[in-house]
Amino acid sequence: MADKSNEKVLIKGNYAIAQAAINAGCQCYFGYPITPQTEIGEYLSGKMQELGRAYVCAESELGAINMVMGAVSTGVKAMTSSSSCAVSLMQEALSYASSDELPVVLVNVMRTGPGLGYIYPAQGDYNQAVYGGGNGDYKLIVLAPSTVQECVDLTYRAFYLAQKYRNPTMILADGLLGQMMEPASFGEYPYPEVDVSSWALTGAKGRDARKIYSVATDEKKQIQHIYDLHKKFEVIAENETTYEEFNTEDADIVLVAFGSMTRNIKAAMNVLRAKGKKVGCFRPVTLSPFPYKALKSLADKGKDLVVVEMNMGQMLKDVKYAVEGKVNVSFVSRPCGEWLSVEEIVDAVEDIMVSNTSKSIQPGSVKEVSYAAARA
């Protein structure tokens, strides 16, 4: 279906992630089926075998993520993929992998929560991805694709960043992106191979034995370890924070969204621009590290912000934190399911430009909205 050529193919987000993982040199995939990401495992179950690489349908998500930890500790690239409620099962391992500095790559194609929820697309795992569900001071690198092409590009980047910084890296997609098809091209994996020879567990023949573990009985060493992890993340934030801006230069108000909602806010911006309203868009590509500085600079220029999310206000808090109360931050949301339509966003933003309130929108009832005053 897809290969390394630059020819565009019509492909599902899930398949795009899977093929990009192959191109990136992923040697092992461990996973357990769950809608809406099952196609990733389905695709790799055949392809990995053809390529002589490893595919294991694990006994559980817990098993899968621990298998990935084992595989990447030997220096090879490996990944798992899952969805929301099952990614919850992997949180302990992510805390361990962060402490062990293991380049785990994990794909979360979000569905609805909390609990088992259902298979509708949602963006409710922002907090879990960015702030972590495991214990201790750690951070994942979190990349949020907004198109199928970016499912390819950010999967490439995830494998590179994971090894470059020896840090678990998550691709945070959603059910809409996983299930939809769109033209995308793959091309070659664009990043250099990272030298892992200084730490990978490859057998101690001819060298001293190595250990990778997270237990820390020596207090001083543990303190230093946490400082080192923290410092590493500051370097990541300095070097790897990425975002997109559209028409922010002359904008009075800027819409902020992540992932596949980006498409809808850009379309809403175009509608509002056509009506003579000065509206821009901002979209973090890396959710962690988060583009605080770039948002602060928009606030310094006095631009009000409207955060649009398919959750009850998760990235909203980071945006508010970034702007330090300097401008109004409003919020337009629906918890899950049918993505906020362009018309709903346009309506909401027009109201906000008048009143600066926030709104939660029920499906199919654009006009009947409940207002909840919320100023940053």
């Binding site: 299930q179 098809m181 033209p183 498409r263 993505w339």
Partner: protein
């Protein structure tokens, strides 16, 4: 300029495949396009649908409340999606399985016996491709030539032997409104 299509029918009628062919046709024509299925606990015999959006610029949203064109292959899909056609939009129905009724007077109706046309080619399995032929005959932005290329792309090398049958299905669908079967 953006146009969207909902394709709907029974599970097993090849609705998702028809949408895939349509989306491939648009891609091969160099347009921006998205395809989004209903997904989840679907089953054979249940209803299934997918949405295709095509645009000269970036696609605005993948999943919309209403549609410019609805292509429906069974009665349940007709009843459901006739409500979601925009004012002035068009519903194109398989009259082999759909009663020719017009519950709204602000949209256009096209009825063609897609199932009968497919059967006359020897198999009801190509009803979906026949329906695309009908669609291209009533919708200017769907090119018959690129649909043929889309079919070829979707069939691939493996199922190349099915290409002549599908090309015939497309052509007969395209001519359906001009000739009676």
């Amino acid at each position: 300029m953006e146009t969207n299509f909902i394709l709907a029918g029974f599970g097993g009628q090849g609705i998702l495949l028809a949408g895939t062919v349509l989306a491939n046709a648009f891609m091969l024509e160099g347009k921006n396009v998205t395809w989004y299925p209903c997904y989840g606990a679907e089953m054979r015999g249940g209803t299934v649908n997918c949405e295709v959006v095509v645009s000269d610029t970036e696609v605005s949203s993948v999943h919309k409340q209403d549609t410019d064109y609805a292509l429906v292959l069974n009665q349940q899909s007709f009843d459901r999606f006739v409500q979601r056609v925009k004012k002035g939009g068009t519903i194109i129905a398989n009259s082999t399985l759909v009663a020719e009724s017009k519950p709204r007077n602000d949209i256009n109706y096209v009825f063609a016996p897609m199932g009968d046309i497919a059967n006359s080619l020897g198999t009801s399995k190509v009803t979906n491709v026949v329906s695309l032929g009908v669609l291209s005959s009533v919708c200017n932005i769907v090119s018959k030539e690129y649909l043929a290329k889309g079919v070829e792309k979707v069939l691939g090398e493996k199922k190349k032997d099915l290409l002549p049958l599908n090309e015939k299905a497309l052509a007969n669908g395209f001519d359906a409104l001009l000739t009676k079967v």
